[in-house]
């Protein structure tokens, strides 16, 4: 049997066509509410990608999505659907806040290191119980992780209101972190090598950590023994047991890694941007991670590209809401269409493309 179509078509062409369809339908919707689709598109592109200021926001969002997207991808290689990224990132934020508030850091770099460890540890811990329930009791991970999202939200609410809130504040948020823990922005990092970049955007040094995480996850999945076992387990649990791969161990380890990756998002959002712990610092990025992983085909490079796309949608959408009468809800519609076509309706595009390649292959013969 031969492959139906070349790998590049599978990885790039199909998502691009899906994306195009999503944008065309979005354009029709914009047209239907009486706005000009071309102007709207132009506004989104210039707003999100036309300046380093726009890029600053796009990349900030993308950093969040890379972490949560990788979290979903890693678990997915073991056929575990971790939709608890939201809760794990929330707990990651708690870890970051505790580390930044309680330890008198001498330098931001050490604070970053501490925050990375704490965010990963707290995120992993929040994934540990659902993982254990799945591995030992067979409680479905989809159910348990989504329930843990709500528990995480309630826990944070309680802690912010009753424990972490500074005396006299009316805001359910932690105290501001000491200045020494503030992370350098991407403008400062790029300034070191002489590249000008807009100040005043939230993108910070954690974007480099996110890129490094992509590389590490790639190596983990395709170059290490653990990754081999994860993939084998994900393809067939029965066969994995035959080969002597321990399902309980793999489930636990994969979910800990996944939770840690989701938790790392907080380094960007909590330490890098807000500088304090807010009630909803995750802002749905845990769920966007699912779409990002889906669109990125669970490959770190795909996740990277998909995260930038969704960062663009977030930032471009904000620009639309700011400058046009297009309601903010429409941004959600556009995002939903992109998720629908690149994820759920993937086959609708894939089949015809496969047919075309089959015809092309048969043709010259």
């Amino acid at each position: 049997m031969m492959e139906k179509m070349p790998a590049w078509a599978d990885a790039l062409l199909v998502p691009l066509i899906s994306l195009l369809i999503a944008f065309v339908i979005s354009g029709l919707v914009i047209f239907a509410i009486g706005e000009n689709p071309a102007d709207a598109m132009k506004l989104m592109v210039t707003g999100a990608l036309g300046s380093t200021y726009g890029w600053g926001y796009t990349l900030y969002y993308a950093t969040n999505f890379i972490f949560t997207g990788l979290a979903v991808s890693v678990a997915f290689h073991a056929s575990l659907f971790n939709i608890g990224g939201e809760g794990q990132a929330t707990l990651g934020g708690l870890g970051v806040a505790l580390v930044c508030l309680l330890i008198p850091w001498p330098h931001w770099s050490l604070a970053l290191l501490g925050a990375v460890v704490a965010a990963a540890a707290f995120g992993a811990a929040w994934a540990a119980l659902p993982a254990w329930l799945q591995a030992k009791r067979g409680s479905h991970i989809v159910i348990t992780t989504i329930m843990f999202n709500f528990i995480a939200g309630a826990l944070l609410n309680y802690l912010l209101v009753n424990v972490l809130r500074p005396k006299g504040s009316m805001d359910p948020a932690s105290a501001r972190f000491p200045d020494v823990t503030n992370l350098p922005g991407l403008d400062q990092v790029l300034g070191q090598v002489g590249i000008p970049f807009s100040k005043g955007t939230p993108v910070n040094i954690s974007v480099l950590i996110a890129v490094a995480a992509c590389g590490l996850v790639w190596a983990l999945i395709w170059r290490t023994r653990l990754g081999y076992q994860i993939r084998a387990f994900g393809k067939s649990e029965k066969a994995a047991i035959y080969a002597g791969i321990n399902p309980v161990r793999i489930t636990m380890v994969v979910m800990l890694i996944s939770g840690a990756l989701a938790g790392l998002m907080a380094v960007n959002a909590v330490q890098g941007e807000a500088n304090r712990l807010l009630l909803n610092s995750v802002e749905g990025a845990g769920f966007i991670g699912i779409a990002v992983a889906l669109m990125g085909r669970n490959h770190p490079f795909g996740v990277f590209l998909a995260a930038i796309l969704f960062g663009f949608l977030y930032q471009g959408g904000a620009e639309l809401a700011l400058w046009t009468k297009i309601p903010r809800d429409l941004i959600v519609v556009i995002q939903a269409l992109v998720i629908l076509f690149t994820g759920a309706l993937d086959d609708m595009v894939r089949r015809p493309v496969e047919q075309v390649f089959l015809l092309l292959r048969k043709g010259p013969r």
């Binding site: 049997m1 031969m2 139906k4 190596a219 170059r223 290490t224 023994r225 081999y228 076992q229 993939r231 084998a232 393809k235 067939s236 029965k238 066969a239 047991i241 035959y242 080969a243 002597g244 791969i245 321990n246 089959l358 292959r361 048969k362």
Partner: protein
Amino acid sequence: MGAQSESGRQATAAPIGPPCAIELRGISKAFGPVQANKDISIQVVRGTIHGIIGENGAGKSTLMSILYGFYRADEGEILIGGKPTAIPDSQSAIRAGIGMVFQHFKLVQNFTVLENVILGAEAGALLAGPLARARQVLGDLALEYELDVDPDARVEDLSVGHQQRVEILKALYRQADILILDEPTGVLTPDEADHLFRILRGLKEQGKTVILITHKLHEIMDATDSVSVMRRGTMVATLATRDTSPEQLAELMVGRKVLLEVEKGPAQPGRLVLDIENLRVRDDQNVERLKGISFQIRAGEILGIAGVAGNGQSELLEVLGGIAYGTGVVRLNGTSLDLTGHHSDGQSRRAQGIAHVPEDRQDLGLIMDFTAWENMAFGYHNAPEYQRSWLLMDNDAIRADCARKMARFDVRPPNPALAARSFSGGNQQKLVVAREIERNPDLLLIGQPTRGVDIGAIEFIHRQIVALRDAGKAILLVSVELDEIMSLADRIAVMFDGRIMGIRDPATTSERELGLLMAGMGEEAKGAQ
């Protein structure tokens, strides 16, 4: 070969002859780029048993699925009783008088025989009338064809052979004139198979037409009047059974001469390798599947486990391979194995020198989406020669090792980067066998080594097993193919209902004796000896 198949074709293509129950003209069917059936024409004479033989993937099942309305042919036509007939779905097939007995029965387990027979042919809202009518019809059929089954028994309580009779009754109740049986003897004991063939002959005498699909040459020789041979989607020959021989059929199937007998010298058993005492295994439902088994295997010896599938053979392989858990004593080279699963798994078993070719290579032995080289490391992913460092695997080393083993075992195509699912069944099995045998284990567990494997590869795999034995290794062979056990094993243990009914020497036992043991009749078997 050409001349023989030509003459065969002419024999059935003669214009004047008995009327055809079914005629296929130029049937073609493609799945994407794969041509499953290519211009197939065949005439099945009314009132005969017609065999269709071919290797796995030759297109037999596709052809029958077209006949039963599961697939629609791209080209060609079907004539039933001389009339062109369209069969877009299975209802039309039933109306056209075609009945199908599938390899995997389609019975409702907790219904009675009677309820199963009328299922889908209830004829009305109330059941009392049809049930009474069916009871009458069933009684007549039982007398006519030796198809006696208790109509009020629940299907789950019936033996496999009886369940198959229910399937046949279902077809006959729907007034099938043409009965198609797909690999019907795979799950039967030799006695049950004999009984089935008696039933089929009875059907034939009553003017029914039977199409028998099988890969077993001796069944074709025993039971059929004429036989069509398929190879790679084409019909290579149709012959009168009395004019052909197993050797000729095998050659037609494979396209070259094959050795049907395994060449092997006498065993030279050495030291004791595997010593099993009172081994017991329970399944997930806490049902005891192995009920106190004891046997030994020495170095340089093949012990064959014969038996109808589902009598504990799988559990035996799994508990020895570290997949299932049990109680009792199992010693390998004098050292006790942990059977509880607390300190053992597939990894520790491999480390102790046990290699395992599982019964189900697609479910257990291979990851179908993995490449060949990734599969070559499967189960041996901790092997030191596959590591670059404590963390990273040496994928280049695995690829090279895989290429070497694929060459030695003649796996085709010899491309380590191809996904396991792109290989044929025989080549998949060669991958697994290469991986396990090349580790040079002290004990090889091998289940159904040639299930779904083409004849050419069977010959090769059998030679490898014998070579491993001659290298002084112990081999535990489980197979439901009695022929395979008879020709490969140095001693034969017969399993029935989780017990070993007896251990026999293949040189002095008979198929009949083994068949009685397989049916759990130890006393009668003694009489037969």
